[in-house]
């Protein structure tokens, strides 16, 4: 039992709190949950394995599933892309400055990894993985952390045999004792120290966001100028592009592109009823003006690019998709990029099939 519970249990408060719930008044509200309903929602997995479904997955399958569903944000080797969490590495860094906390270096229980992947991932498509896929992904994450070899198969049967390196690295909240000196009968009121000197200034780092109020004051002038440029750009280029696009569609290539598009789906929607999500709707994107999807809040950089009259020609799309951050350093799109040229061609072809 936790220290917190011990503390509380010793007080009079606790004894009233936990007293005789049998006497509690019932209101007869609600209805019994069916076993199927409970099964559908009660998915959590505890450290002792309670809640784990039957299943298994190996490292090799895990690598494939991970590449398809997770690598966009977490990197092919679970090393993390941009600010997205790193899942591997950081062993023995917890007592260093800026420790690297990963599944391997920090997480105490493997159940937490299984449970989180199963219930909350992939980002934007949660609860779409099969139990076997989840076992495989977790096996791959263990492998990425050098905790198992490439032959390893994780299943509900051997699950509890895996102990994570930092399992013993946690203590229960001990502020009441370790920080007992913060409870002071008489805090100092005068002559509390000899002198006061500045030891660090926030202005030196300068990481504070600018106030929008100031930006907004300047914005109307820019906005007023923008429509003129936008009106000019489509008139010159867009209609030509669109006609070309509409005429040639390589059905086979588009079909391959549909598979590639799975990597984009977490953030982008296409087709009827598509809505802006993390990324804008991509209907009619090939040939469209840059940064012009209605209602989508673009990065400043993308908006500015759009204001130059730039257009998503297949060539520009290819350049962007190869390495988005290299194409436009401050784009919001956190996707690392498509490595294969044929994937880019395929996904572009697939996108051509969705017109506005």
């Amino acid at each position: 039992m936790s220290k917190f519970l011990n503390l509380i249990a010793g007080t009079a408060l606790a004894s009233t709190l936990i007293a005789a719930p049998a006497l509690a008044e019932k209101y007869g509200l609600g209805r019994p949950a069916t076993p199927d309903e409970v099964a559908a929602w009660d998915l959590d997995v505890a450290p002792d394995g309670t809640g784990l479904p039957v299943g298994s997955g190996d490292v090799f399958t895990g690598e494939e599933v991970f590449a398809e569903h997770c690598a966009i944000c977490h990197g092919d080797f679970a090393e993390g892309v941009d600010n997205w969490p790193k899942l591997a590495g950081g062993m023995d860094t917890l007592d260093h400055e800026d420790p690297l906390k990963t599944v391997g270096s920090y997480w105490p229980y493997l159940s937490t990894t299984w449970d989180y992947v199963n219930r909350s991932m992939p980002f934007g498509a949660a609860q779409t993985l099969s139990p076997d896929d989840v076992y495989a992904i977790v096996a791959y994450i263990l492998y990425s952390n050098d905790l198992v070899d490439d032959e390893f198969v994780l299943s509900n049967e051997n699950f509890l045999e895996v102990e994570l390196p930092n399992a013993g690295g946690f203590i229960i909240d001990d502020r009441d004792t370790a920080e007992a000196h913060f409870w002071k009968a008489e805090p100092c009121m005068s002559n509390c120290k000899d002198k006061v000197e500045i030891t660090m200034r926030a202005a030196v780092l300068d990481v504070t966001p600018e106030e929008e109020g100031a930006e907004e004051a300047a914005a109307p002038a820019e906005e007023a100028a923008a429509p003129v440029e936008e009106a000019a750009a489509p008139a010159e280029e867009a209609p030509v592009e669109e006609t070309v696009v509409a005429m040639v569609i390589d059905e086979e290539l588009a079909k391959k592109g549909e598979k590639v598009f799975k990597k984009c789906k977490a953030c982008h929607q296409v087709g009827d009823g598509a809505q802006n999500k993390t990324g804008p709707v991509l209907n009619g994107i090939v040939g469209a003006s840059v940064g012009a999807v209605e209602g989508f809040k673009y990065s400043k950089a993308m908006k500015e690019l759009g204001e130059t009259g730039a257009t998503w020609t297949p060539e520009e799309m290819a350049a962007f998709l190869t390495k988005p951050k290299a194409y436009l350093k401050k784009t919001k799109m956190s996707f690392a990029g498509l490595k294969k040229e044929k994937d880019i061609a395929a996904v572009t072809e697939y996108l051509k099939t969705f017109q506005n």
């Binding site: 509200l29 609600g30 929602w41 997995v45 420790p99 609860q127 913060f182 509390c192 109020g213």
Partner: protein, 425 residues
């Protein structure tokens, strides 16, 4: 004005008055009387009419207050969908946070969940697993309480050093609202706790309906104490970003446990040790071991004005120093303010006596001499806890803690009235 016999102003008198008013408008523009033209000249708003009652069925703050908004720090997270923004505490007064500018923290974005589609399940070690609709919840006896909700990461960016220049950014992961809802105890008892046996070592696991499926384990003692299943805040429905239609309120404990879009409450015999209670919201100490289950928010305070976003613009003379104080262990009993970086302290005036696990407003009315100040505030709570300095905290916890930074904040107010976030010896 002459009255007619029935007591109403006569039509004739009314017309005479209108002529007289018109005369003033013309006279003022010709004569150019000495003084403030806002007073000596009839302003447009004093002459023409304003908006009718049908103009704004639900009002937003007037346009002149458009800078009093939530802000986020772009570099903090990979994506705004899983991120946090900050309450503009530097520009607010009193203690209640308006919902529209109260900070948001989502792990998978703010979802839209209709009341009609809302279901709350209680399962696990209960006599009868139950499902409630929103309407069911409205039929249980209701309670009203004001509580603060503070993210465990509030002030977290300041662990290693002064980083962000503004009380909004250093201390704005907090809001304080009046909640209306049903006590969690009532709902647990409706499902029946006999099946759980001895309640002392039992837990409830609470979980949200959004894609992050955010879930946290809460000891049964707390669950049966003051936890609320809330559906109104400050008198009206919860906002989408705060968990509409139903969220959990866990008074005094870290904001992550205040599960939004609450969909399930499971009585368990162990902590689930979910991602948000192991890999996150744990505090790594200098030797590499980490504290877990650090639920309660320590006593803390901050001067909200003057501060970097709220500089002194009026020069020397009367100055209102004000700020907020709170404690997850009970009520605020006092706040001390230092103008010299902690050498001397004086007791501030509380706007109202501190209440349990809610924000307390404090004021120190001074006659500023126009010299630089190192403004600090220090909260004291009903448990006897005194808000520590950053040095005192680092001595115990090191530099890698991230969460639960409740140190004394210093604003360096310069002679020109501008303020900066600094650390002092």
């Amino acid at each position: 004005m002459t009255m007619s016999f029935n007591g109403k102003p006569s039509r004739r008198a009314f017309l005479k008055g209108a002529v007289a008013a018109g005369g003033t408008v013309a006279g003022a523009s010709v004569a150019k009387a000495a003084g403030d033209p806002l007073i000596t000249e009839v302003q447009e708003w004093a002459s023409a009419t304003g908006e009718g009652v049908d103009a704004t069925p639900y009002g937003l703050p007037i346009e002149f207050e458009s800078d009093v908004v939530r802000r986020n720090v772009e570099w903090l997270t990979a994506d705004t969908i899983s991120s946090i923004n900050f309450t503009p505490i530097h520009a607010l007064d009193g203690t209640i946070t308006p919902q529209g500018c109260a900070f948001e923290r989502h792990h998978s974005g703010a979802i839209e969940l209709r009341k009609e589609d809302y279901r709350l399940m209680i399962n696990g070690l209960v006599d009868t697993p139950l499902v409630f609709t929103y309407e069911d919840l409205e039929r249980f006896p209701r309670e009203n309480h004001v509580y603060f909700c503070e993210c465990a990461a509030n002030t977290g960016m300041e662990w290693a050093g002064a980083q962000l220049n503004g009380a909004q950014f250093t201390h704005g992961m907090i809001h304080n609202m009046e909640y209306s809802g049903v006590s969690l105890r009532t709902l647990l008892e409706e499902a029946g706790l006999d099946a759980a046996g001895d309640l002392k070592d039992k837990w409830v696991y609470v979980e949200g309906a959004d894609a992050s499926s955010n879930g946290r384990s809460i000891p049964m003692e707390k669950a049966l104490d003051d936890v609320l299943v809330a559906f109104k805040a400050n008198g009206e429905a919860l906002r989408k970003e705060h968990g509409y239609p139903v969220r959990l309120v866990v008074p005094g404990w870290e904001g992550n446990m205040w599960v939004k879009w609450l969909r399930r409450i499971e009585v368990t015999n162990q902590a689930i040790e979910s991602r948000e209670e192991t890999s996150k919201y744990t505090d790594t100490l200098e030797d590499g071991t980490s504290r877990k289950w650090t639920w309660v928010m320590d006593a803390k305070s901050v001067v909200t004005s003057p501060s970097p976003q709220s500089p002194i613009k009026h020069g020397p003379g009367p100055l209102v120093v004000t700020g907020l104080a709170w404690s997850g262990r009970g009520s605020i009993t006092g706040v001390d303010v230092s103008l010299d970086g902690g050498i001397t302290w004086q007791e501030a005036r509380l706007g109202a006596p501190g209440t349990d696990k809610a924000l307390t407003r404090f004021y120190l009315d001074i006659n500023w001499n126009g010299e630089e100040m190192f403004l600090q505030s220090r909260a004291r709570d009903s448990s006897g806890y005194v808000q520590p300095t950053k040095a005192e905290l680092r001595e115990v916890r090191g530099l890698n803690s991230i969460y639960h930074n409740n140190c004394i904040q210093t604003w360096w107010v310069k002679a020109n009235g501008e303020a900066e976030n600094v650390e002092v010896s």
